[in-house]
């Protein structure tokens, strides 16, 4: 393209010159990275990004172990007796409840709770532009709140410094996971994950079914002990009432043996009793609390902070999200539509955004601009618009099974942009360090056509220094938002 405005260097020479980078490029080209591998939050991913957990998975193994152990003891030692003396439905009901509990627990732990992807550099720059131009001409740090009206009620939106955006309402930043989570309820260490919009129903099912399970096991165990002690007593009585049948010492010996065999099974029963007794209080309490939250369409976070408490006056600060009807609130929270996962874990990182740090530092900015401009002139523009037209073809690139595993958080329809890849002027120092080498438009994703030319557009290069400047003078009050290191 001879009429390229910014072309200062012949693109052909640039493409071939760094031969080592070229080889590196080719090596990297063989293995395009998936987005979960470069995810900025503190999460762990398994099964190729299909399963995710918080990095601090807390006591999830303990929770699972405790449930499995107690139920194992129940099935092993109590069920045989109870089936014999009562009904066969007891282990069946227990089995169903147990399965439901474990499955709900796994859903809660492994599902994306509603993590919001971090703002793209363009978005962040746009927000800062708006904030700066609306204020005075002298520089000041961006305000941290924005007030909006929701159902005629004033709600303050806070700015998240880590994710570089104004948080939507009911969204909170979890410091343990380092993510903004929609409709953030709490970070549950028992479950090893945040509880948010997408997995609240699983969490609620888990605690409700666990309440039923512990109550059921508790009841069965009490029944077992009662029945067994009655049997023991009647046995002792029977032996005492017929002394003529056995000599005294033998009858005593038989009584002792029977008592021991009762005790032998009772030890496991006692263990179950203790576990159930202590868990029942906490689980039932938690279930009751969450039932109240569901009925009033509140989150634990809001309840603890007292965001909508009626102390300030019923009209002023009612809950703007409540449907003012308990049944509707319950149905909306628990039976509402399942929102999609916004972080596309299985998508591929767009290679055009990725710039090797070394080459970026070596090559001067104008050269870099020219090189990428040349790319854009020759190929990217044509490609991006073609891709736009034929964007449905991209779905062919996605691995199979993407559409089926949606509840585990896979974005079915599209791949969100790699929101935290910095532009060449390095907006974020704290973001993910690894940067795949840029490929000369060989592989692509839907977002690359939007981001790659932008990264070298001088218009945005002008905008980009402001975030780095703003970082210097930001003083963070909210501890969870601490994500920036002031540039010395």
């Amino acid at each position: 393209m001879k009429n390229c405005e910014y072309q200062q260097i012949d693109p052909r020479t640039l493409v071939v010159s760094p031969s080592s980078a070229q080889k590196h490029t080719e090596k990297e080209a063989e293995r395009p990275r998936r987005k979960w591998e470069v995810f900025p939050g503190k999460n762990r991913f398994f099964c190729g990004g299909r399963i995710m957990l918080a990095r601090q998975s807390g006591v999830l193994p303990l929770t699972l172990g405790l449930i499995v152990f107690t139920c194992g003891l129940f099935f092993g030692f109590d069920c045989s007796f109870l089936v014999e003396h009562l009904t066969v439905f007891i282990p069946m009901i227990a089995a169903v409840l147990f399965l439901f509990v474990v499955i709900s627990l796994l859903w809660t732990s492994f599902t994306d709770p509603g993590i919001l992807p971090r703002a793209t550099p363009d978005e962040a720059a746009d927000i800062e532009k708006q904030i700066n131009t609306s204020g005075s001409s002298t520089y000041r740090p961006p305000p941290r709140t924005k007030e909006i009206l929701i159902n005629q009620q004033v709600v303050k939106l806070k700015y998240c410094f880590t994710c570089k955006m104004f948080r939507p309402p009911r969204t909170s930043h979890c410091s343990l996971c380092d993510n903004c989570v929609e409709r953030f309820d709490h970070h549950c260490p028992w479950v090893g994950n945040c509880v948010g919009k997408r997995n609240y129903r699983f969490f609620y099912s888990f605690i409700i079914s666990l309440s039923f399970l512990t109550s059921f096991i508790f009841g069965c165990v009490i029944t077992h002990i009662t029945l067994r002690s009655q049997i023991c007593k009647s046995l002792v009585q029977a032996i005492q009432e017929s002394p003529a049948r056995y000599p005294l010492y033998i009858s005593h010996f038989i009584i002792l043996i029977e008592m021991l065999s009762c005790l032998d099974t009772s030890l496991c029963t006692v263990v179950e009793l203790v576990v159930c007794f202590f868990s029942i209080w906490s689980i039932l309490g938690l279930s009751g609390f969450h039932t109240y939250l569901v009925a009033s369409n509140l989150t634990t976070n809001e309840d603890i902070k007292g965001s909508w408490s009626s102390k300030r006056g019923a009209d002023e600060s009612g809950n703007p999200y409540s449907h003012s009807n308990i049944i509707t609130n319950c149905c909306a929270t628990l039976c509402g539509p399942m929102p999609p996962s916004l972080i596309d874990r299985r998508g591929f990182v767009p290679p055009d955004e990725a710039i090797p740090a070394a080459s970026a530092s070596e090559i001067e900015l104008p050269l870099f601009t020219a090189k990428n401009d040349a790319h854009m002139c020759t190929q990217s523009t044509k490609d991006m618009l073609e891709r736009m037209v034929h964007s449905s073809d991209f779905h062919g690139l996605c691995p199979p099974g993407t559409s089926k595993t949606a509840p585990l958080g896979l974005g079915v329809t599209s791949t969100p942009a790699r929101s935290t890849q910095p532009s060449p002027s390095a907006l974020c120092s704290q973001q993910h360090v690894h940067q795949p080498v840029a490929l000369p438009c060989t592989t692509y994703s839907r977002s690359s056509k939007r981001d790659s030319p932008l990264s070298i557009n001088p218009a945005f290069r002008l905008a980009s220094p402001s975030p780095s400047l703003s970082r210097v003078s930001l003083i963070l009050d909210d501890s969870p938002d601490t994500g920036f290191v002031p540039i010395p």
Binding site: N3, C4, E5, L99, S104, L116, D122, E123, D126, Q130, T133, S134, K146, E147, I148, L149, I150, N151, P168, P169, E182, R201, Y321, C331, A332, L334, C335, P337, M338, P339, P340, L342, I343, D344, M376, C377, T381, K382, L385, E386, M388, V389, S391, K404, T405, A406, P407, V412, T413, S414, A417, S419, R446, S447, R450, P453, L454, N457, P458, L462
Partner: protein, 158 residues
């Protein structure tokens, strides 16, 4: 369609990304997904107001349909609960079906309306459902470095 394609061809040879406009979310009715229909000033010279508003309103309607709490969603929810949510592994939820429709609609809008005017809409799902990103392309030959023309775009309600 041939005319539009001809325009796309021309765009290909001459377009460069000049600016991006972000249409923010409208939270006046709660946390349901809805975008502001305020016409951003950067697009004034590029596209008719009515076309833009139609696009945003249609998108809002699609999202409202996806998030509607009604008979079908209750049924889906209860069925899911009864099967211990294992049904999510097999079935596509209603939301996902609507998202596909939205993807197709945006693609169609891009082809028919926006690309001929040098604009490109990004599906909001790729931006975390926070913004509708509209990329403005300019002819290479015409303006040079058009840094952000006046800044306030789709300004948020303050």
């Amino acid at each position: 369609m041939a005319t539009e394609f001809h325009n796309l061809q021309e765009l290909r040879h001459s377009a460069s990304l000049a600016n991006k406009v972000f249409i923010q979310r409208d939270y006046s009715e709660g946390t349901t997904c809805k975008f502001q229909t305020k016409f951003p000033s950067e697009l004034e010279s590029r596209i008719e107001r009515t076309l833009f508003e139609d696009t945003v309103k249609t998108l809002n309607n699609y999202y409202a349909e996806a998030e509607k709490i009604g008979g079908q969603s209750y049924l889906e929810g209860c069925l899911a609960c009864a099967t211990a949510y294992l049904i999510f592994l097999c079935m596509e939820t209603r939301y996902e079906k609507v998202l596909k429709k939205i993807g197709k609609y945006i693609q169609e809008q891009n082809e028919k309306i926006y690309a001929p005017r040098g604009l490109l809409i990004t599906d909001p799902i790729e931006r975390g459902m926070r913004v509708i990103e509209i990329s403005i392309y300019e002819d290479r030959g015409s303006s040079g470095s058009s840094s952000g023309s006046s800044s306030v775009s789709g300004s948020t309600a303050r």
